[in-house]
Amino acid sequence: MIQTLKMAWRNLGRNRRRSLLSSLAVSFGAALLLLMAAVLRGEMRGAIQNTIRLQSGHLQIRALSYDENKVSLAWEDLIAGPDAVIQQLSAIPQVKTATPRLIASGILTLGDQSRGVQVVGIDPDSPANQVFRSGILAGSFLDAGDREGILVGRPLAENFGLQPGDQVSVLVNTSDGTVDEQLFAVRGVYSTNTSAYDEGTVFMPLAKAQTFSRAQDHASSIFILLREQEQAEAVAAAIQSQAYQVLTWQSMNELIVQTEEFAGAYMVILYFIVLGITATVVTNTLVMAVFERTREIGILSALGMKGRQIMAGFLAEAGLLATGGVIGGLLLGGLAVAYFARYGFYIGDFGMTGILLGDTIYAYLTAQDALSLSAATYIITLAAAFYPASLAARLEPAEALHAH
């Protein structure tokens, strides 16, 4: 085995440039796979994290009859007295923070411009809403007692030409099935770097939203963030009640989970295309080596080397190319992933219905992805050597010895 590897190493050294280029092709292939996987993983991870921190939380408590798609404000569809529930939640150590939110469908109007928005009543002092406070680009954040102020997202402000201090009209559905309209002052412009969310979401203090929509002391949901994302199922089970429904982030984001699975399957096709190109380079290199060394193969055969031993020699060369290629790929891919994990990959306003993509994708590579893709590269490279190796093994010694 060691002798076979030693000979394979020396054979690769005969044409260093060609061996290096072949190994580099494997490296580039492996690096590309790692980067593609990391970008996809980062994109989906970012979408889930965005959705959790902005919209779903790790858990939500809703009234049993609440339908998210209808955004009902009927009292029976809302949670009455959410503060009592939050007080109970605060005793659970895994719960980091919990806050009520009231969500109403509305229309924002400025002059002859109007746009459908989701009006979200929030507790401005809750740590859960820190993400919006820290995203203030102009003006100021809301005060709990503010009765005339709203926050608008950057895309909405840009489309309407809004500045802090400007007045807009907001119309909302109300709990009694009618609508109400009122003038509000833009207190601030925020950005979560998630265009799809920012352009359609307007914030106002919870108390004002409850009054405005006539929901009284009701909330659409209680938004809960946990200390550890993985605890969602356990905490949900612990706080399950017949009085309300408890939803986990997984059940609220099934679309993202399904999209990730679909994208993963699609990526496998891309992986095979990249590996196919890499394999072609390796096959070509080794086929050339077989033709160049036909007479030597004849000599080895004359000395008593069996077909499978000759084959093993070429597979050992492929193994060395693959080893160098995978190590190079891990280095190259690791550097690229590290760069994009730190600085991100700007995609701008790239919206997908139901998925809150940020404007920048941060690559994220898991050890499992790195391991499985490296193994796939190694195996495909070895598989690519089977044709030239079997070509060498099948050579008739007498014919091979006559080769020039």
Binding site: Q3, M7, R10, N11, G13, R14, R295, E296, G298, I299, L300, S301, A302, L303, G304, M305, K306, G307, R308, Q309, E396, P397, A398, L401
Partner: protein, 235 residues
């Protein structure tokens, strides 16, 4: 006892629609310890006969025996196994593995035969000493002269202690001095170890080393001559 014999072997090469009859029914016994030359003009069938005896090729018809064993029906791996322990080769074009040193080239057939490392090292040293190349043990073929390369090939052929060594035009690419050296080494090893040598040549200076000369023409043996008077005395 015959170390090898061929019985009515024919070899026909088919290239497109053209059939070439390289051997047309050759029967030959080679006794243990012989130093025999296959001679004849180009195309007479010398190399083809050597390749059939060496199990590098298979006859279209007829039988090949090695140490009394019928090797005609053996598959590739069985032929490789039989070659490994029994037959050594020396080729016209030196035929060393360019990435291996002289010592490693000599070691290669021992590795293939599964000889352990200490025995391998001892045998390699012994063989390189036998061809007077101890000082070139760690040189690669491109650092050796043609004569030195062919001496390494002789050492390699002899290393696994075969009963038969086949040499195809062993001096054709060597100058007179180197050719003479190689033939003298082969002759000495034949006399000291008793290994059988069969070599193909059309060089009269080489033929005179042989104790038996088999002449082929157009794929047939046309003459056999024993020359006992010249054994070890011609040089």
């Amino acid at each position: 006892m015959s170390v090898t014999s061929v019985v009515d072997v024919r070899r026909v090469f088919q290239i497109g629609d053209v059939q070439t009859h390289a051997l047309r029914g050759v029967t030959l016994d080679i006794e243990r310890g012989e130093f025999a030359a296959l001679v004849g003009p180009s195309g007479s069938g010398k190399t083809t006969l050597l390749q059939l005896i060496g199990l590098l090729d298979q006859p279209t018809s007829g039988k090949v025996f090695i140490d009394g064993r019928d090797a005609t029906g053996l598959n590739r791996d069985q032929r490789a196994d039989l070659r490994k322990g029994t037959i050594g080769f020396i080729f016209q074009f030196f035929a060393l593995i360019p990435t291996l040193t002289a010592a490693e080239n000599v070691e290669l057939p021992l590795l293939l035969s599964g000889v352990d490392s200490s025995q391998r090292r001892a045998r390699v040293d012994e063989m390189l000493a036998a061809v007077d190349l101890m000082d070139r043990a760690h040189h690669r073929p491109d650092q050796l002269s043609g004569g030195q390369q062919q001496r390494v090939a002789v050492a390699r052929a002899l290393a696994p202690n075969p009963s038969l060594i086949l040499a195809d035009e062993p001096t054709a690419n060597l100058d007179t001095d180197n050719g003479r050296q190689v033939m003298e080494i082969m002759q000495r090893l034949n006399q000291t170890t008793g290994v059988t040598f069969v070599f193909a040549t059309h060089d009269p200076r080489v033929i005179q080393y042989a104790r038996r000369v088999v002449t082929l023409r157009d794929g047939l043996i046309v003459e056999e001559k024993v020359a006992p008077a010249t054994i070890g005395k011609t040089r």
